[in-house]
Amino acid sequence: MSVRARILVPVLILVLIGDVLISWLALRDSHHEIEEVYDAQLAQSARLLQGVLRQRAQGENDWERLYQAFDDAMSRVGDGEAAHPYETRLTFQVWRTSGELLVRSAEAPVLEFPPTTLGSHDLMENGRDWCAFLLADPQQGLLIWVGERDDIRQDLIQRIVRHTLWPTLIGVPLLAALIWLTIGWGFKPLRAMTQAIRGHNTDTLQPLQLRPLPVDLAPMQTALNGLLGQIDTLLERERRFIADAAHELRTPLAILRIHAQNAQHAGTAQQREEALEFLVSGVDRATRIGSQLLTMARIEPHLNNPDIRAVELTALVREELAELTPLALEKEVELVLDGDLDCEIRTDPVALAIALQNLVTNALNFSPPGSEVRVRVRPQASGAVYISVVDSGPGIDEAAYARLFERFYSQGNANGAGLGLAIVEMIVGKIGSSLKLYNLPQGGLCAELRLNQR
């Protein structure tokens, strides 16, 4: 259901109900008022009759002449030129106070004796309703009665009322059409916005700049632009990631290809064996790069909304070390955890675990067999915690320090994917911690992670 219809239907229903209600009230009131006017007319006619009767000469009893005059004036309505459509045909009769009937117009109801109610009253005679007015004239000893047929009066009233209903009948559909057009006009900015949004695709994610922009659409544009911005950033990151991955997979692929071809061209079985060994370790390396790229792709969006919570640090470190124990056994390196103190810190456990995994894996990969890799958890009074990973490998080349954190730089290590430290650095920056790498005087490397209390 369109918004236009959602607005129009209730509005029309309300207009219709309101219109019917108002019309009904107006009809009821006007019906009543018109009745009053006709009643007043009856009263007036009765007084007129009374006035005329007073004017007759003392003792004059020529009722026939009077009857003719009244009948002409009151009953012959609608004849002649100067007639009014709403004139009513009045009937009359006059009694002596004693009840003797003096005059009665032809159409007047035949009553045995005059009605008892003075003033306006209704009466029924011979199955007909009458509206009447009875005026007493004690001075002359007369009862003057003027009346009209109720059905005729009602006919007239209905004609009058029907005329007042016409504008309502024509007005409602006209109003509906106008409301429909007005709503459409009101929706014009919304349609313009739709058009503008339709013009966008993933290649053109510029923010919307609608002008003029109605006040109530401004928040929508702001929200939409925020969303567009996020999508743009996301797409840009994806694009960069794919480009990086495609670019950086070239070296491992080159390694695979050259050793594969060397195996093909090998002159001796030993040369072929050597080349195949390189090929296998090249495949392993490419696999590691693949999985680290995936880790990177997964952790990057996660880091934008880090899930910071209270973490039992020693427990987390112990769990990660347990996972790396098979690698340590394979490398014949002993993995040691220093620090049994329970310490809690607010940080992102998933990100921290990945950072730790990478640092310890690096340490294991660079450690000679028979040596040990020591992981130490040291809480500080300030609330910060140091986690250090110490190995007895060759350490780092100070000159290449800056390049260590570059993606795909592996210090010439044939097994490294060159992403480990890049991932750690990415994580460290986002969870408010810092990483320091330094060679130890006795040889080996210390990777020190400082976690700040969040």
């Binding site: 070239r250 080159a254 050259i258 071809q261 060397n262 390049r403 592996s410 210090q411 010439g412």
Partner: protein, 220 residues
């Protein structure tokens, strides 16, 4: 032929060394830019295989410095940077050719041969002089139309002498070209190789310049 490979990735460097050594080239391999810079200033090479993303000194900078030093050594760039702009930058910095990883080993070998041929001022793939004909692609030698079987070392030595007829090649240069830095060389190995070549081809082809080196006569 003595080639210098500058490549920081160990696994790739090993692969290239195996592939090119099988062709009989002497391959010296360095893993960083600064080391390569020193080697290029003090030693003579016939061709440089250069990776661009190097530790300590970027490959492109190294190349620009090499050309600024008036070094006209042929340079083949081996890189993962595949953008057109990057290829143009590499060639404009003075590279003679540009090969994008991953590359076909046979293509690498062919490009190395082509670059060496051009640097020796030849357009013909075969090296021919005084009835001796060398095919660098197959490392086959023929004398007066008949194929002569030579060892890879003998081929390399003959190649060194044949590309510059009439020019004396010093003993030092020859032994460097044949062995590079890697292997210890017996002092009389060169003489043995020269002796074998004279026996297989003809005695007059290679003349000894006492105390200096050897030369292939321009007009025997």
């Amino acid at each position: 032929m003595r080639l210098l490979l500058v490549e920081d990735d160990r696994a790739l460097g090993l692969g290239i060394r195996v592939a090119l050594s099988a062709e009989g080239y002497t391959l010296d391999w360095l893993q960083d830019g600064v080391g390569a810079q020193h080697a290029l200033r003090s030693e003579t090479f016939d061709l440089l295989l250069l990776d661009l993303g190097l530790p300590r000194l970027d490959g492109l900078t190294l190349l620009q410095q090499l050309r600024a030093d008036q070094h006209d050594l042929p340079v083949l760039i081996l890189t993962a940077r595949d953008g057109t702009a990057e290829r143009i930058a590499g060639l404009d910095a003075g590279a003679d050719d540009y090969l994008i990883k991953p590359f076909d080993v046979d293509e690498l070998k062919a490009r190395v041969r082509a670059l060496l041929r051009r640097s020796q001022g030849r357009a013909q793939p075969l090296i021919e002089h005084a009835g001796v004909s060398l095919d660098p692609a197959t490392q086959q030698v023929s004398y007066q139309g008949h194929e002569v079987v030579v060892t890879p070392m003998e081929y390399q030595l003959l190649h060194q002498l044949m590309v510059r007829p009439g020019k004396v090649v010093t003993r030092e240069r020859l032994s460097r070209a044949l062995y590079g830095w890697q292997d210890r060389v017996e002092s009389n190995t060169l003489e043995v190789l020269i002796h074998n070549l004279r026996k297989k081809l003809c005695t007059e082809l290679i003349r000894t310049v006492r105390g200096v080196g050897y030369v292939v006569e321009l007009r025997p």
